[in-house]
Amino acid sequence: FKAAVLIQRWYRRYIARLEMRRRCTWTIFQSIEYSGHQDQVKLHDFFSYLVDHFTPSSQNERNFLSCMFAEERLLKDSEMETYCDYESIEVPDYYTGPHVSFPLLPDHATALVEAFKQKKQLHARYVLNILHEARKYLIQLPNINHISTCYSEEITVCGDLHGQLDDLIFIFYKNGLPSPERSYVFNGDFVDRGKHSIEILMILFAFMLVYPKEFHLNRGNHEDHLVNLRYGFTKEVMHKYKVNGKKILKMLQEVFCWLPLATLIDEKVLIIHGGISDKTDLELLEKLERHKIISTMKYTKKPEKKKAAEESRSISAWFPLKSRSVPSSPLRLSPHKGSRSASIPCTFTPDRKEIFKKVRQSVQLELKEGQQQMDFSEFKDKEPLRFPLESEPNSCDFQGVNQEEWKQVVDILWSDPMPQEGCKANTVRGGGCFFGPNVTEQVLQKYSLQFLIRSHECKQEGYEFCHNRKVLTIFSASNYYEVGSNRGAYVKLGPDLIPHIVQYQANKTTHTLTMRQRISRVEESALKALREKLFAHSSSLLAAFKSYDLDGSNFITLNDWSVAMESVLHLGLPWRVLRPQLVTHTINNMLEYKSWLNDLAKEQVSHENIQSSLLEVLYRNRSNLETIFRIIDSDHSGLISFDEFRQIWKLFSSHMNVDITDESICDMARSIDFNKDGNIDINEFLEAFRLVEQSYLEDKDSELKGSETNESSCSGQGVH
């Protein structure tokens, strides 16, 4: 019947176009996320630059540097009690949140879930208490948890949650609460990005303490205070716990480093957060002292010799790039530079040596002064400079792990699978590697394993098999990029070790929308994020466009537009496919690029007093700046001084080769100092440049929220 065919033909084409849009949207989100990781790499470069070129000329500047390079250490047991003296924290009578007492009972854990559903906040005293107990428990766990399916019939493995409480609540609703009959493994990345990281942690730790045999946690790359500085958990804690936030953050460091690195089911299924590498050595992983790796972002070396030799300098390397190259010998200066091009011996120009000599001298002075205060330096305003160069004679027995052990852990927490054979450095994330099917095969065979379960990457369906079904990625944060962007999933394993996957999407509203509406929403948000990125590169784009505008007509062809876009942004996006969404006014297939760029600019929040080029640079570096701010703001007060701000900005702009006068920096600082007290509130500063999409998203969110129910229905079809 011709009419029917016609309609069907037309409809199928319509669906195909929607599908293409959906794929492109996904690609946009992923490429923006990955380019965010690239920012991390740039941050690393920035710090290297600082080390090489910056001569602190004043006490302030020295303190500034010291903040960034200070060595972390864990508290000793004696310090622990004093530091986290939660018992002295009073819980006021008007507190309506949940109460917790030890020993913890299943009812307490369930009560926590209920309370958080009702948007209650757990009092700091209880938070610290739980963290304290969690730490005590975690300390006696091995690096690799060996569990068996004979205890409880099925084990449920969940992936990244990233602070999305709705998903955790949904999993417990759909799959049942943890119990002696219902085992769970949570595979890391509980925190950051979402708004309820601390609540998720509390629930997970509570159940872990109540059902230690059945409830297991693996460490993810986000269980790391340095990563938290950047991705929102630190902010969340300080926001929710204004008085005791610092203590909680310190305690979190202590707890995170004790999280086990992996879980092994029936000696056959290995669960790790990121992946593996061709060097993965389970025996080594079982033996190393995992708690010494406080952060996988920063490698702090064991002091090689006890004498303060001139040569034995090593500076904490920030996340060395290309971690696969041969590690440089500890006798060289700036090993982080060495690890980038390890085969080239680092010869030092005399001035660099001079710089470090000067710094070292002043350091020694400070060290002498600060020696007595070393133990509780956290509490003092001045943080004594502590390059781990000088062997601190009475250094608290903190020693790092060796580089090989450190790399093993980084690989486990940061690697991603790739379809091609081989194993190469994960340049996207800046750490870990990309591992191919042959590497998987090799490791599985070596340890007689059946398959791997990992998380770490967002998948549209919530899960994905690869490497011939030997690697399963499971991701439990649904709607990760945006409402409707992806499903979440968890996997159940019985004694037969056959994976059963359950998918879900924890948001009622998505089900009332048609596919078209869902895709449009997600697409809109992706495009907004993309346009913001485009704006951030306005000047480079203008220059690129100009180079194609040979006759000075202010018009370029759409072909040239596509090429120019990729050459500036390096996002690997299908520009020709996206073009109709990004460029709406063309004349004769030509684009008047200046007005197009202007339109982009108009969309963004404008701040009258600030030059637009500055604005652009700020946008581009927003998250890096935020990270730096938070590092500088070592007492987590949320305020940095004028001076500090100017310093950061000066350094940063010289590194980025941005031409900015001192005056404009001052102007900018002044205009941001909203209450004119000489201090800049980090949050206010960032608010001024908040993504348009952020408020857009929040508006949309509150529009559609309507009535929030405790049960979220879902289209969870069991697959397999």
Binding site: Q8, R13, E19
Partner: protein
């Protein structure tokens, strides 16, 4: 060079540039579905790619196209090097053009035997799943979710078409 020879030369150059651009466009669309970054795409996604490039083939025509680019021994994957020249031809010959709105409307009217200006749910389902190149259950459900007017349980096809057309642009 004579003016006409010059013209021909310019035309050739322009065509070449146009061709190059066309190839880039096709390649881009292809790569969106090339998950392993090895210039191959699952055969089940080819239909989506072809349609998103502006063509509107029927299922039968689609199968013919796929047969042209498949390997001798079907592997389940289509390679870019085979797909590209075929697609270039299809696009430059302007085959499988999209259906104009008035024709679509006529098609609906043909199905609307009672000439009432709407179709009942049962009618639409029957036609779409039993006639022509039948829809799968999923396709039917998806179409109904947007097309069906829940109050009257009918498809007001004029309004539906109007809405879809706006959405396309």
């Amino acid at each position: 060079m004579t003016p006409s020879a010059c013209k021909i030369k310019i035309n050739n150059l322009l065509n070449k540039a146009g061709l190059l651009e066309l190839q880039k466009k096709i390649k881009e669309a292809f790569e969106v579905f090339d998950h392993e970054a090895n210039d191959t795409v699952d055969v089940r996604e080819i239909g989506t790619i072809i349609r998103s490039l502006g063509c509107c083939p029927s299922e039968g025509e689609l199968h013919d196209l796929i047969a042209e680019v498949e390997e001798e021994e079907p592997t389940g994957y289509i390679r870019l090097e085979k797909f590209l020249p075929m697609m270039v031809k299809v696009l430059s010959e302007r085959r499988y053009r999209p259906i104009p709105e008035d024709l679509l409307l006529q098609a609906f009217e043909v199905l609307d035997s009672a000439k009432e200006g709407f179709l009942t749910k049962e009618e639409l389902v029957k036609y779409m799943t039993e006639e022509g190149e039948p829809f799968t259950e999923e396709e039917m459900e998806e179409m109904l979710s947007a097309a069906l007017d829940p109050e009257t349980n009918t498809i007001q096809y004029r309004d539906y078409l109007a809405m879809m057309v706006i959405d396309e642009n």
